[in-house]
């Protein structure tokens, strides 16, 4: 990520001469962030939610008093290892493509008897509460750490969903005429000091999905990609996308397929 920042200085900067001089050398701030990012990642509080998520996965809960151990994440009922890196994918039982959290929520509804309304009511973490699907997604994601992303593009619906996701990515609308691509469609740019990876490029798309679910230092809360995309649309000045909706699965299909072949490092730590 920090490499992109340095790149940003070199490539996008032609204006201020005093800055050009600075651009010749590596950005010391970025280097410093990098160094301590490693320190922070060594002990990541995200692991606390992995533990919690594992318990939630294995404990009989909900009106049907069932565990999630029969939940099919695409590799067969109960198979968790490797599943996260191979989603979003098409699920015949719902005849749509689902990302990991969408599938987990689906399982909580069908196997445990929770309702979508109660799960979607306050789906994002606050200082005092981490919703169960967030912990469970963190657990599931951790079981794909070290594996390569391999979101399938075999079923016709998976291909169509990728294509729709790409359209959504480039769709400019809203008060500020923004699309996802406004910030993430060009190499080497940054917003304030934050590097903006170009998600249309395979080598950079990984930055959209790497490190999620992530422990966010701001607020000290655990967030998933459902939250991340929700907040992107807020900053895009769009209305709000539905939690675990097909729109978000489509966008995640576009981003993940673009990252296929790259290694997922597991739950991360975010600014």
């Amino acid at each position: 990520m920090r490499q992109a920042l340095v790149l940003g200085f070199v490539a996008a900067f032609v204006a201020g001469p005093w800055l050009q001089a600075a651009a010749q050398t590596e950005d010391p701030v970025a280097a410093e962030f990098d160094k301590f990012r490693e320190v922070l990642e060594q002990d990541n509080p995200a692991e606390l939610w992995e533990v919690k998520g594992e318990q939630l996965w294995k404990t009989p809960r909900g009106p049907k008093n069932a565990s999630l151990e029969k939940c099919d994440l695409g590799l067969g009922p109960g198979v968790v290892r490797g599943a996260y890196a191979q989603m979003p994918r098409y699920f015949a039982d719902v005849d749509r493509v689902m990302d990991a959290e969408a599938r987990i929520v689906h399982c909580m509804i069908t196997l445990q008897g929770f309702t979508y309304a109660e799960l979607a009511k306050a789906p994002f973490s606050s200082a005092t509460r981490t919703p169960d699907p967030v912990s469970i997604t963190t657990y599931v994601a951790a079981q794909s750490a070290g594996m390569k992303f391999a979101a399938p593009q075999n079923h016709a619906e998976e291909k169509a969903t990728y294509a729709a996701g790409k359209e959504i990515f480039f769709y400019r609308a809203g008060s500020f005429d923004f699309s996802c691509a406004s910030c993430h469609g060009v190499d080497g740019q940054r917003i304030r000091t934050q590097p903006l990876p170009n998600f249309t490029k395979p080598d950079q798309a990984i930055r959209a999905v790497q490190g999620w679910p992530g422990y966010r230092m701001t607020g000290g809360v655990m967030h998933t990609l459902q939250w991340r995309l929700n907040d992107c649309f807020r900053q895009q000045r769009f209305p709000e996308p539905g939690y675990t909706s097909e729109t978000l699965s489509a966008l995640l299909t576009y981003l993940t397929v673009n990252s296929n072949g790259q290694v997922y490092k597991g739950p991360g730590i975010k600014r």
């Binding site: 900067f13 749509r96 016709a156 169509a160 359209e167 609308a173 940054r190 209305p239 996308p241």
Partner: protein, 201 residues
């Protein structure tokens, strides 16, 4: 709506066997998905998902419309610019700096327009090093371009409706969509074009 179902309905199942995209193509799938999946939140209504003329053209041509289309759009957009009734384009650059720093406004958790988010994308004053690079540097804006009325008018109109000069510019149309008040735009114009502004030192 299931994408395959859409394709089947079109009666083109055989033709589309290897591609489940609906009859209107991926774009139509995407639009119907978004229309169904989004909901109004705070000040952000569902109307925001609809493209206006500029957005439609930029989406259609991948931000690169043919010259004549672009020029027509730019003329139309420039016509939306309402210059201040009192004829004064320069406000207070100090107030402008605050507007430029403020990144809030128009999101569903805002009450309306708040700031200009200028530093998100532009280098402006020399004191702020945490600036974005999505837009060009505006440092020494008038020092490089001149302090005349034409430069002030250009700055004001660009802030009011950036699409007046570049149909598919990534910059929002702050005046056109009511994200900034006349006074805020005057203050920003001063930040960029006032001789006393640190931007021009």
């Amino acid at each position: 709506m299931k994408l395959t179902t859409l394709a089947m309905l079109a009666g083109g199942a055989a033709l589309l066997a290897s591609c489940a995209t609906g009859p209107g193509g991926a774009r139509s799938d995407a639009l119907s998905m978004m229309k169904r999946d989004f909901h109004a939140q705070g000040i952000a209504g569902m109307d925001r998902l609809k493209e206006d003329k500029v957005q439609a053209a930029c989406n259609k041509y991948n931000d690169n419309p043919p010259k004549e289309v672009a020029e027509k759009l730019q003329r139309e957009q420039y016509a939306t610019v309402k210059f201040p009734a009192d004829g004064k384009l320069l406000g207070d650059w100090k107030a402008g700096e605050k507007v430029a720093q403020n990144g809030r406004g128009m999101a569903w958790n805002d009450k309306g327009g708040v700031g200009g988010s200028c530093y998100n994308c532009h280098q402006i004053g020399p004191a702020t090093t945490s600036f974005g690079t999505i837009g060009p540097s505006l440092y020494q804006f008038a020092k490089l371009r001149g302090y005349g009325a034409d430069v002030q008018r250009y700055a004001y109109a660009k802030i009011y409706n950036a699409k007046s000069y570049s149909a598919c510019s990534q910059m929002p149309r702050f005046g056109h969509v009511g994200a900034l008040t006349d006074q805020q735009m005057k203050d920003l114009t001063a930040l960029l074009t006032d001789r006393a502004s640190p931007v021009n030192q």
